[in-house]
């Protein structure tokens, strides 16, 4: 028996998994995990603002995430290491967001829904937004794929090939912000980075080319979303964290398989 809200939840999970996994690969390759955190945590500020001005939560989080992503991608400092700066931004934007939400007059909102996601509450408008966003982000990434790989590998080689690394990076930054705005209902701001990096990291031991890694990451992400959804339904657990748990188990499994195979090949 497939209730329509389960079906909507499944479709939402698939959309986010498909869009997040390839971007997640770049997050892993470019060591941008903190970057993802900063962008995602800023989204809670976006939630507060959209509620304050009675705008759609999707639009509010999208705007704030894009601004934050752009801000952190243009950061540079001599005094602090990059991860320090990103850590400051990630956690302070989360704190400011939470404080801002508490100021909202007369609004009783379920903070948990934004922090950990509320996939079962996805309605058809959300679903359309998610799929349009996922398709756009995936198309943008597919279009710039080779250029982005080149830039990730070595910016100077990219310049020599006539590419503009900053422009390519902007594509990635915007995509990341869109993913955050899409995923907030599915896994919540605290676990968006997990949906980005865990499928990609789980795919790494099984891949020898970047494309294969992205495809396997998509498969792992989709599988985690669907089985996480069903598991949470069975066990009556929060859905977003359950999805991330399944992804984490897959990560452990893929590494286990890889290491066992390596050991065996040494023995034989």
């Amino acid at each position: 028996m497939l209730d329509s809200f389960i079906l909507r939840a499944a479709l939402a999970g698939i959309a986010v998994a498909i869009a997040a996994a390839p971007i997640g690969c770049f997050v892993v390759w470019r060591r941008m995990a903190y970057f993802g955190d900063a962008t995602a945590h800023a989204a809670i500020l976006g939630v507060a603002m959209s509620l304050a001005f009675s705008q759609s939560v999707f639009a509010g989080t999208l705007v704030v995430s894009v601004l934050m992503a752009y801000l952190v991608s243009s950061l540079s400092s001599r005094e602090y290491a990059m991860d320090t700066l990103l850590g400051v931004l990630a956690h302070s934007s989360l704190a400011f967001g939470l404080v801002a939400v508490s100021f909202l007059p007369g609004v009783r909102i379920d903070l948990n829904a934004y922090l950990f996601g509320d996939i079962l509450a996805v309605d058809s408008t959300d679903l359309i937004q998610m799929w349009v966003g996922a398709v756009l982000v995936t198309a943008l990434l597919a279009w710039r794929w080779s250029a982005l790989l080149m830039v990730t590998l070595n910016p100077e080689l990219a310049y020599a090939s006539g590419l503009k690394p900053r422009r390519e990076q902007l594509a990635l930054t915007v995509s990341l912000a869109v993913i955050v705005a899409l995923a907030i209902k599915v896994v919540g701001v605290l676990l968006i980075t997990a949906m980005l990096i865990i499928p990609a990291a789980a795919a790494r031991p099984l891949s020898h080319t970047p494309e294969r890694m992205a495809l396997i990451a998509v498969a792992i992400g989709v599988f985690a979303a669907l089985s996480g959804l069903l598991t949470s339904f069975q066990l009556d657990t929060p859905t977003g964290p359950t999805i991330v748990c399944v992804a984490a188990v897959l990560f452990a499994l893929s590494n286990l398989v890889y290491r066992t195979r390596q050991l065996l090949s040494h023995w034989v």
Binding site: W29, S146, A147, L149, S161, H208
Partner: protein, 342 residues
């Protein structure tokens, strides 16, 4: 091959040189509508500063097709910055850089940090950023001897293999100018001599311009048409023998009038007296192993292998190799250079 003019048949027969010359496109981008020669890359009053520190000051530079230009200079003299600026990777604080329209640059960086997180086979690396035509790939991998590495992961390559792969990739898009930034760093003397010999051969066959940064003065002096001595600004510039007799050059490198040769001899003796000989031996064995694989793969395809093996049989006779590469500088290129306006 994609760069050949339409209608010209491409055959894979053995009579075709391993690398197709660049004549057609080179002419198109370097000869102006009035028939005058245009440089491939031209920098006018180029300045670069990091914060308040001026790294390069008012550099004027140009490179023409077929020319081999080498930049020498002490550590921190701005050599790498200059190369980065010329490929467009370094913001300028003053001046302009012009690239000929449609210019293709083959760039071999000083080193490339490969991250274990990014799975990348050599074959996939060659297809970045655009897919490479299969026949072009076959030619280049045979010439640069990287065919046996195609399925290997980039992170698993040794230093010498890595540099060869970078060189092969740089050649795959048929560059009008090949730019090498201390490309032999991390290679032993034998390895770097072989590397430069490969570049020399490639240049002879393709006719591309070569711009190198090097601290190996003996290689520089024997193989360059023009040497630029850099120390934040251009100290002196010209034919190798002219530059090596300049007081500015001698002030920087402290060699006698015999310049390059004296320094080279010193290097040569030094490495033989050095107690770290076993390191060299290890490296040779290593290379031998790969050579073996390589031979195994396709020795019957390419008679050129024999020559390479020959070099391995004779333990490094650098003197011989050095004079060889001097002889290898083609007359047509030298005369072409003379005919160009400065």
């Amino acid at each position: 091959m994609s760069f050949l003019s339409a209608g010209k048949p491409v055959s894979a027969s053995s009579s075709v040189p391993l690398m197709q010359p660049l004549d057609a496109t080179m002419k198109k981008i370097t000869v102006g509508s009035d028939g005058s020669m245009r440089p491939l890359i031209k920098a006018t009053d180029m300045s670069v500063s990091h914060g308040r520190t001026a790294v390069l000051e008012r550099i004027n530079f140009s490179i023409q097709s077929g020319e081999i230009v080498t930049i020498v200079g002490p550590n921190g003299s701005g050599k790498s910055t200059m190369v980065r600026a010329l490929i467009g990777a370094q913001p300028l604080s003053g001046g302009v850089i012009d690239h000929a329209k449609g210019l293709r640059i083959g760039y071999v960086p000083q080193r490339l940090q490969m991250d274990q997180a990014l799975p990348m086979s050599v074959r996939r690396f060659f297809d970045l950023p655009t897919r490479i035509d299969a026949s072009a790939l076959a030619q280049v991998v045979a010439r640069i001897q990287v065919k046996h590495l195609l399925n290997r992961q980039m992170v698993d390559l040794s230093g010498g293999q890595f540099q060869r792969v970078l060189l092969a990739r740089a050649l795959l898009n048929h560059p009008h100018v090949l730019i090498l930034d201390e490309a032999t760093q991390g290679l032993d003397q034998q390895g770097s001599a072989e590397f430069y010999q490969q570049i020399d051969t490639v240049r002879n066959e393709m006719g591309c311009a070569v711009l190198m940064v090097s601290h190996e003065l003996h290689v520089v002096m024997s193989a360059s048409d023009r040497v630029i001595c850099l120390n934040g600004h251009i100290c002196c510039e010209g034919a190798p023998d002219v530059v090596s007799s300049q007081p500015e050059y001698r002030a920087l490198f402290g060699t006698g009038t015999l310049g390059a040769l004296a320094l080279y001899r010193h290097d040569h003796d030094h490495s033989h007296d050095h107690p770290g000989e076993h390191e060299h031996e290890h490296e040779h064995e290593h290379e031998h192993e790969h050579e073996h694989e390589h031979e195994h793969d396709h020795s019957h395809d390419h008679p050129g292998d024999h020559q390479h093996d020959h070099q391995h049989d004779h333990q490094p006779d650098h003197e011989e190799r050095n004079s060889n590469s001097t002889l290898n500088v083609p007359d047509n290129l030298k005369s072409a250079h003379k005919g160009m306006p400065d």
